[in-house]
Symmetry: C2
């Protein structure tokens, strides 16, 4: 579902910024255009009116025509791609051609490239890298701290400026942050910024949220937009204001309204994820955590250990993928496995109790289920998962969940991990009260 | 590095296909445009000339103008986004406006929506979903099996056809596969197809590969393009031919040349990954696998258990994140931990030997290292990893690796997992000889 976004693109008479991505690999679908998204985000944060994005292949005539076209309707163009040494890297010369301007070598750039590659043998006359030193006479150079291909800032006609960047994301980002950001801010920003705050939800569906906040979704400033990922919903609140602190003042009442309405469904903000929030909570309580995993096969543990500092809370776990290991490592009685099956409330509960005791932790989560695509039957279909959480004072919580069997293996594993983490988060919350 | 791509975009006089993505969230940088890449890949596989992609916001006048512009230079336009029920979903009416054509309700579509949402109360007069039933009179409807918003196939002027799709990727894909693919193939494909074969490498860097295959990189049909991911290099060979089998004939000699040149660095093709290849190898040998993980904290296990059928090979593992568990679960002697530290060849080797014995497997991999960002020192910096592989007949391999400490935690963990999997793959290969 999309919502009203009070973006300045609603003012059609204003001139604005465009992004042009250059590369035949984009037209072939070989790579996803993440550069456009990154630049778009940067332009948003600068409060710039960004109306349109285009992509073309490595074709000189098409690049020239398109740049010419853009110069007639916009005042700033950001390009990525086509600055390298190969015959297919045509951006600079094609842009120059749009305005019938020759390009010249800037000799100091060649010295810089030689310096950067001082451990490589370069031929002064034949090196393909030399091509990267040619620019229109009055272009200013954007230094590339991560590679050899510089970019340029060039105003070929009054009121129209072009900034060029390589297609390699790390080079683009470094050059943007080092040089371009300040230039654009100084010369093109109207002094306003867009600032966003993202509120994150677990255990509730997108439609259950949006139907309760119809009024908020209609706001103009800040704007409020929902996004759904696997097992997680995000609400992004974006304000336009003179600066970040004024934007925060606009955002605050919306945030508070969401917190009042959805309280425990909200687990965090911005860069938080369920694992990082859980680790923080356990750290506060000085409690430790262990896992006994079957169907998630290590994914639950790795979601926790992907967070720096998790070792203060997480002691370890056992992945008992086979029944043999459930018996030998987790002491699940043979008759329990026979009577109830490995995917059962009984086995999950014993797994949680035993691992908690064996690994001497405050909290243990166990999980056993059928991630598919095979292994399911009518009684225990693909998507069936049992989770058990054992805590202090013999606290036991058992959860049975049927995930949609049309989900693929990886989705069922990831949804299971989310459910484990969110369930323990809710238990800790309720105990904190 | 980019290479020559003999794409038809080098023939500027031909009319072609364009993709138009509609959504202000794309201009705000809130989401990455994965739809364009997916459609581009589809168009490639149909051998269609795809010259240009554009993105605009949810602004009726801009959408209209852009569609009009595209109709003057292309013969097929694929749009995504803006088909939903909210006021910002403007695509159909804006496209109709480009050609001064009114839109009418197709009543049967409303019946279909009501049927799809039969468990929801819909108001005949006020439901916002009703908007989704309005189309130009002679538009053909593309049924949406995954959602409520249909698309259309419409030829507003002779020689120019528009296909519209929602922005939700799963809906777009289902509609494309169910209806659009055949329509486009029948009406727009010239009978040629692009067919790709991707060869995958591990244990060798991109530049080490490309500098040895300069001649291959210059080919016109098939074209050859290298891509580098974290710890993996891919070479994509793309041929244009009358059909798949003719394309395969063109690809074959290039593939063989790569296999001769790089032999054991090549681990697979297309959808293979290191884990799936390793599981296949172990299945053939009827050998089993277990892990003792420290710094990768479950990621090694989950890379294996993400593959369906892994349970036939993988028995389980122990994640001994704390030293306490290294002692209690993996029987690492206290004095070994004290003398050498947890991150050492000695401890890694004992971990591998002990887990292999305890879990009764043919192969065991252990890993201990410093994933960072903290925990490193001069002697044992962030990025230092010890891997030990224990196999049949007391086969022990010890590996010490320094990953670049500027890598983030997650990258070091993922590179470590790749190194574990690739090392065992190479051992199995050498034993198979």
């Amino acid at each position: 579902m999309k919502v009203n976004l009070n973006h300045l693109s609603n003012e059609p008479t204003q001139k604005g910024v465009e992004i042009l991505s250059i590369g035949t690999e984009l037209l072939l679908g070989n790579i996803v255009n993440t550069n456009s998204q990154w630049i778009a985000e940067q332009l948003s944060s600068l409060g710039l009116n960004h109306f349109r994005q285009s992509t073309v292949g490595d074709n000189s005539a098409r690049i020239s025509d398109l740049v010419k076209e853009i110069s007639s309707r916009s005042n700033l163009l950001i390009t990525t791609g086509g600055l390298g040494p190969t015959p297919d890297d045509l951006t600079t010369e094609a842009i120059a051609k749009s305005f019938n301007v020759p390009i010249y070598e800037k000799p100091y750039l060649w010295d810089e490239i030689k310096q950067k590659l001082r451990n490589t043998k370069l031929n002064n006359d034949t090196s393909s890298l030399r091509k990267q030193c040619f620019f229109p006479k009055d272009a200013k150079i954007i230094n590339n701290p991560r590679g050899t291909a510089p970019g340029m800032i060039w105003e070929p006609i009054k009121g129209f400026t072009i900034l060029t960047f390589p297609g390699v994301p790390s080079e683009l980002k470094a050059m943007w942050n080092d040089s371009a950001f300040d230039f654009i801010k100084k010369n093109f920003s109207d002094g306003y910024v867009f600032f966003s705050n993202t509120i994150k939800f677990s255990g509730i569906g997108e439609s259950n949220i949006t139907e309760k906040i119809d009024d908020i979704l209609k706001l103009k400033n800040p704007t409020v937009a929902p996004y759904a990922n696997l097992g997680e919903v995000k609400i992004r609140i974006t304000a336009k204001a003179k600066n970040e602190s004024e934007a925060k003042i606009l955002i605050k009442p919306v945030k508070e309204k969401l917190k009042n309405e959805f309280s425990e469904f909200i687990f965090g903000e911005n860069d938080d994820n369920l694992a990082s929030v859980l680790i923080k909570k356990l750290l506060q309580k000085k409690e430790t955590l262990v896992f006994a995993e079957s169907c998630t096969g290590g994914l639950l543990s790795s979601s926790i250990t992907s967070i720096s500092g998790s070792s203060k809370v997480f002691k370890g776990g056992i992945i008992a993928y086979s029944n043999e290991l459930k018996k030998s490592l987790l002491d699940i009685p043979e008759n329990q496995l026979k009577k109830f099956g490995a995917v059962s409330k009984e086995v999950a509960e014993t797994m949680a109790i035993n691992i908690k005791q064996k690994l001497e932790a405050d909290w243990a989560i166990s999980i056993s289920g059928i991630a598919g695509p095979s292994g399911g039957n009518q009684e225990k279909p693909v998507g069936l998962v049992y989770i058990s959480i054992a805590g202090p004072e013999n606290h036991i919580t058992n959860i049975k969940k049927f995930f949609n069997p049309n989900r693929n293996r990886n989705e069922i594993q990831r949804l299971s991990v989310n459910l484990c983490l969110n369930s323990l988060r809710l238990i800790l919350l309720s105990r904190g009260k």
